[in-house]
Symmetry: C2
Subunit: 714 residues, 2 copies
Amino acid sequence: MSCVVHLKAFGKQNTDEHMRAFAEEVFASETKGEGVRDEISLFEEQDDCPILKQEMAYHLQTEEDTEKRRVKKIFTKLNDQARKVLAPVAEVLMDTPTYLEVPDFQRVAIIGDYASGVTMDDFELSCKGVYRALTIREKYMRLAYQRFPLTTSQYLRDIEGEPFMPEHSVQPVFTSPPKEGEDPFNTKCLPENLSWVARMKDGVIYVYKDAAEADQHKPIENMPAPHYETFIDDMNFLIALIAQGPTKTYSHRRLKFLMSKFNVHEMLNEMEEMKELKLNPHRDFYNCRKVDTHIHAAACMNQKHLLRFIKKSYRVDADRVVQNIKGKDVTMKELFANLNLHPYDLTVDSLDVHAGRQTFQRFDKFNAKYNPVGASELRDLYMKTENHIDGEYFARIIKEVASDLEDARYQYAEPRLSIYGCNPNEWTKLSVLSLCRNFVPHFGKMLENIFMPIFQATIEPHANPELSIFLKHVTGFDSVDDESKHSGHMFCTKSPKPEEWDIVKNPSYSYYIYYMYANITMINQLRKARGMNTFQFRPHCGEAGAVTHLLASFMTADNISHGLNLKKSPVLQYLYFLAQIPIAMSPLSNNSLFLEYAKNPVLEFLKKGLIVSLSTDDPMQFHYTKEPLMEEYAIAAQVFKLSTCDMCEISRNSVLQSGLSNEEKTHFLGADYLKEGPEGNDIRKTNVAQIRMAYRYETLCYELNLIKEGLKTD
Amino acid sequence: MSCVVHLKAFGKQNTDEHMRAFAEEVFASETKGEGVRDEISLFEEQDDCPILKQEMAYHLQTEEDTEKRRVKKIFTKLNDQARKVLAPVAEVLMDTPTYLEVPDFQRVAIIGDYASGVTMDDFELSCKGVYRALTIREKYMRLAYQRFPLTTSQYLRDIEGEPFMPEHSVQPVFTSPPKEGEDPFNTKCLPENLSWVARMKDGVIYVYKDAAEADQHKPIENMPAPHYETFIDDMNFLIALIAQGPTKTYSHRRLKFLMSKFNVHEMLNEMEEMKELKLNPHRDFYNCRKVDTHIHAAACMNQKHLLRFIKKSYRVDADRVVQNIKGKDVTMKELFANLNLHPYDLTVDSLDVHAGRQTFQRFDKFNAKYNPVGASELRDLYMKTENHIDGEYFARIIKEVASDLEDARYQYAEPRLSIYGCNPNEWTKLSVLSLCRNFVPHFGKMLENIFMPIFQATIEPHANPELSIFLKHVTGFDSVDDESKHSGHMFCTKSPKPEEWDIVKNPSYSYYIYYMYANITMINQLRKARGMNTFQFRPHCGEAGAVTHLLASFMTADNISHGLNLKKSPVLQYLYFLAQIPIAMSPLSNNSLFLEYAKNPVLEFLKKGLIVSLSTDDPMQFHYTKEPLMEEYAIAAQVFKLSTCDMCEISRNSVLQSGLSNEEKTHFLGADYLKEGPEGNDIRKTNVAQIRMAYRYETLCYELNLIKEGLKTD
């Protein structure tokens, strides 16, 4: 019987030549039965149906049979498809190209769940709160040209009874990679200088037509700054919301539901998803694009690489002057002699830059690991940009890492460089790569040192050509420190203005974040107006410390790194889901510092539908192999038993989260990558099953719809 | 103050030139204070002691200071040492070279623990049992030229009041790699043929002077076979022992003690061990030798590699005849056409050889994964030796894997080839690489098919030159199947002889094992007598199934693969420790098949002092990266938070466990690698701390001594 079905199947696929071959062999098998038995002796099959036997020889003797048979079937279909899709023939360009079709899958429907197990009043209360929280984020994202999901916006408008205006939604602007033969350092094409004036007021830099207007604080129009008091109000509202009992219960229940729902989806559709991937030609996990969304340039090489580099540099540059201590030139040979060591004797062990068990819960020790052999001189020489050799070695190491990535193919990285805001020329230095570390009179000065040069370069590109070019390729700002250090200060209307903040003690995380955000907002508006690329705010957040950090980022950040502490606040976790905020997670980094690998929430977040990507953070400290990002994926896949679809979804998330240009994203994810749901996914490029995409999209809509329901009732 | 101490320290090391430089700089710093402040502004230090400041500039501003200062100190010492050790000057060749010195470390001593918390009677009973168990293994290891630890032997003799005769201890013989310019396939150097006769009796092959003696079953002397009844008695004794209450309690307590003892050792000496490694020049985890002690040739390439190979082969060989189905030649093109697929469309997903979640607890599905795209034809073509192209592709893939290993350096593998014992010419084929799969009339025939050709090639090398050469490079025999399949049969004196075993049902594991062992024993004696290399028995064992499997291996195997189920029998686990039986563990393989990664006992075993190594088993199914063995180590290191010393100890274990020749082991581990304890460890080659070696050795002696005490009392 089964073989008949199968024949039909083949018939459907009208692969006649195959049929002929098949029939021939069947005939042959009939005649020389003995030969066949040898052929297929692997399969203990009753001999009564030669066709069945023959068929068995194609497939495996397991319950997967039917499974596999289907696969084989569709393989034919696929090949036709692939050809169609690839061939630019008009007649096949239908409305929805076949690759966009979502195969049938089993959906999980809950009937009458709208109040989702809490009292009607609590339900409405929670929905109100969540709704307002989302509008808050939407507002601040727009103001700063950062992203907010269309789907969520649509539901918000829907709730408000407003029409949804796609044009209201904004997108960041990133510089495309240089064209063939184009010189990325060509300063000719920079926009002309303007006579505008940038000046800081209360920690935020405004742009004015001229000095006169600046004196009267009449900033240029259509460049609104975030409103300080409103921001504080919004923040206080959110602080209250995440502590609100009913909303906590509601969010907690929704998250638990999302988790179970995914588990059911997985049980029902795992095979179907896998089938889509099997039928997807040329593309698999290895050749779908992955971006290392969180990696520090200073530790982007692995320990072995750094060791090799140090030895190599010594072989060729031993007599080179690499330091000048109080007017006295110091050669590399002398430097190492002073340290009582010879690079020849160095090993990964004596280099001692790898985070071991000792660093767990010890961020201080971890920072110490940045110093090879515990010697800051070596860090200065090899991993810093402001040194006697102007960061030449650091630049070379980074280049080597970059070319390793090119060799590995399909892997990209967004290295993070450090800027301390100690003096205004840091940027000029950084544009030829640099760092420093003095002290600043007050917090405002630090902000000014960080941001003023950018405003100036943006207003007068030709006055700062190098920096202007450099900024074209900067995609965002991070804010990083040991979050677990608590700062007593609470950010509120009473907080001193940055210019007044002259005490040694650091301001609070939220305070930092607000002023970073405010200035990035202003800069983005200016650059957008000038047709330049914009910047994203991508802080370290929720690696440790208070949940309020995650709250501040919810208001201000396009995407974050770590986010572990979302575990501690169901409301925030649910909000991060609804706002689809990308989170670059580094379980190996966490494993060495804050949280054991198996306890990492990355799997839980992924299942619930939060937008997680995998990143290495610091290969030098955490990784062993030549391909740290692959190591990160491989370990996650092994420990969390990720399916190929899971891994490709994470890879896709990483590209979306990244600061790659629209051009690159189109190339890596497909022309419609900005659309949400299955129509935004080109499986031929991402290798993410359309079933998965549909599940994610429908699940998000379902949750948003609940909130709509909750608000309808009154 | 601290700087004064430090100066003394330097003084001790009498590195005068350093002192001068140091003093100079101190002086300089005194004069141009300003410059210094810049120099060392990284360190918030009170400015009263310039020397201190200067010193700080060398070290890190953390509690590790003292730590690091010591390191720095010894670095000087080390360099002297290294020079000494490397220079072949008579005057430094002292009795114990410095690298053998065990630095002081903190030891854990228990006072008056001899009865270790069980009643005196139970203690004595257990010690008697354990003692006898060890003598049983010792006996069977010697008989087959397999290994038994000297230390344990010494204690056994001690208990018996016998003198310990080192000459009684045997070692396997492995063929050294071919010398420069030597032709490994040269058949000239084969020993001459003998007129001896090999014949199977009751499942065991004996060697006779001639046919006449064979007819009267008068085997050649000094080639004793294991005694069947005695073996059964010994086995039954062990079965009783591992079920014996008191011995279970005792072993359980000892193992718990071993665990806690290691944890204490680690807490006390982790830093000291690390220091040894930091002071060990040139050698680190990356360049200490590791052997993949358990890897199946048929799956030794990773999935991506196989995919690339298939595509490549199609590009060049599409029109090559690769099959002959009933007289009809089939080209590769046709083969793929029949399968309805084009290699161009193949991806890792459609290849579908990676073990996913579906294979957990499903060995059957796992086996199915061996078929690319679920098509046995492709397995036959690419991963088998008996096919139309005589396994050419399979051989080529293995060569590629080998050259990858050479590129990676310091990594070695012992691929396992399959032989089914279906017909006597398998070996001839295998010697030019081959497999097969028919059925055999009875178990005895299978044994004969497996072993007789080896006896013949050993007696008449020139009659079977190819096989004889091949056997020179065979180091052992495995026995592999789905252990979880239970066979009702219980091995006992009543068991049918192999020649009588003609039912379809498989005999029990122990039955298999016994006859494998018996024949390996006979061959080894014959080959040893002929000055040829011997074979080890290295079965899969304790991956699943009954603990009696591990018992049978305890009696017969030089070392095993997996051993997970030692978790289930404290007595066997304790015996494996006392007999230091190497266990090749594959946590990633287990993770896909039998046991979740975090639950793998590999860490527990390592801590207790069992001899574990890490192996990949089947990179094609389990691994993601280009370096499967490194992936295996990296993941273990990350998940189990292994220290460098742990990882290097595992690497060292893997070399010891392997079938690498004495020559290679000497090169990789040091000239004294056969000695036990610290004196057997050359840290310069292994990067294993002498403190660790001492701890292991003293711990083993302590446990053995307890048994001695237990037996003294009566």
